[in-house]
């Protein structure tokens, strides 16, 4: 449900939020969240989400978006513990590798 559409009003908003402060790109949207965290003074941590078919790819994708947006890291629960421990360790390490990799820069 999207607020402030079709005549419904909620809170305060500005058209420029959607045109000047962010775009549809996930890194822009996440950076908008970082800006709302006192411009990064309070770190933004994203969630890894539920487990499913493509956990490794999804977790890495989320980590790349969070890092490039200027975020501080990820929590990852179900993707890590709803599988054998050795796989869970690999998944956590894969997320961490995104943050360690110097070629993945802040946009």
């Amino acid at each position: 449900m999207t607020l402030n559409q079709d005549g419904a009003k909620f809170g305060k908003w500005s058209e420029k939020t959607y045109t000047e402060l962010c775009s549809d790109h996930p890194i822009d949207l996440t950076r908008f969240q970082v800006a709302n965290c006192y411009m990064g003074r309070i770190g933004l941590i994203n969630s890894g989400g539920a487990s499913g078919q493509n956990d490794f790819a999804q977790a890495i994708r989320t980590a790349v978006i969070n890092k490039r947006a200027g975020g501080t890291g990820l929590i990852s629960g179900r993707k890590a513990f709803q599988r054998p421990m050795e796989e869970g360790i690999k998944l956590l390490n894969a997320i961490q590798d995104v943050y360690i990799c110097p070629d993945i820069t802040i946009a």
Binding site: M1, E20, L21, C22, S23, I27, D28, R31, F32, Q33, A35, C37, Y38, M39, G40, R41, I42, G43, L44, I45, S47, F56, A57, I60, R61, V64, I65, K67, R68, G70, G71, T72, G73, L74, I75, S76, G77, R78, A80, F81, R83, P84, M85, G88, I89, L92, N93, A94, I95, Q96, D97, V98, Y99, I100, C101, P102, D103, I104, I106, A107
Partner: protein, 233 residues
Amino acid sequence: MQELEEIENNMNLDFEAIKNHLGDESDYLLEFNEPKIKKESLHIPGSDFVDRIFIDTDRTTNVLRNLKSIFNHGRLSGTGYLSILPVDQGVEHSAAASFTPNPDYFDPEKIIELAIRGGCNAVASTLGILGAVSRKYAHKIPFIVKINHNELLTHPNNFDQIMFADVEQAWIWVQQLLAAQSILDQKEAIDRFKRLVRLLNMLMNLDWALFCGVIFVIQLSKKMEKTIILLLI
């Protein structure tokens, strides 16, 4: 604290491997360099984050120490980044439903083991899970206690947030950060907000590190679509 070069040598996935995992989106995500809000406006993560950013705040020395200990633990130690293992499903989503894929995690020690072997900065869980093994592990990996949860005991489910732990109880047993999560519905939003603010004042008086603030999950529709809003303290 490891040097970054040493950490890089321990990487399992290099840049090419990460690009492979991103597949078709690789260029879309990695080549994006025209953000609407410029990087120069931000306070970005880094190994000096506590000394650069938190030194100016109203947080106490204990809080700074706790934050530092979280940042300086695990595979991401010294990078300024955080990888945390959160497991509140034993309470919030029903343990049996959540641990069926791997029932080993009914045992709190296995949760801690995953966090440690997985190289996490910290483990976040319920007072019960952390308290069951705290003397053995609280000094080995930073503990984060989640003190309130969505309770599923009432029927029909009303997605109310209630306290499952006492702040002082958590202070004695386990420490570092307290995580609080709240679902606000339209009718009771104000009351819950006030209660949560009182709780947070109590936490500040106890020198707790409240790093990320509180996450509010707002129920926007009957279909439980949610928006997450970070309340910053």
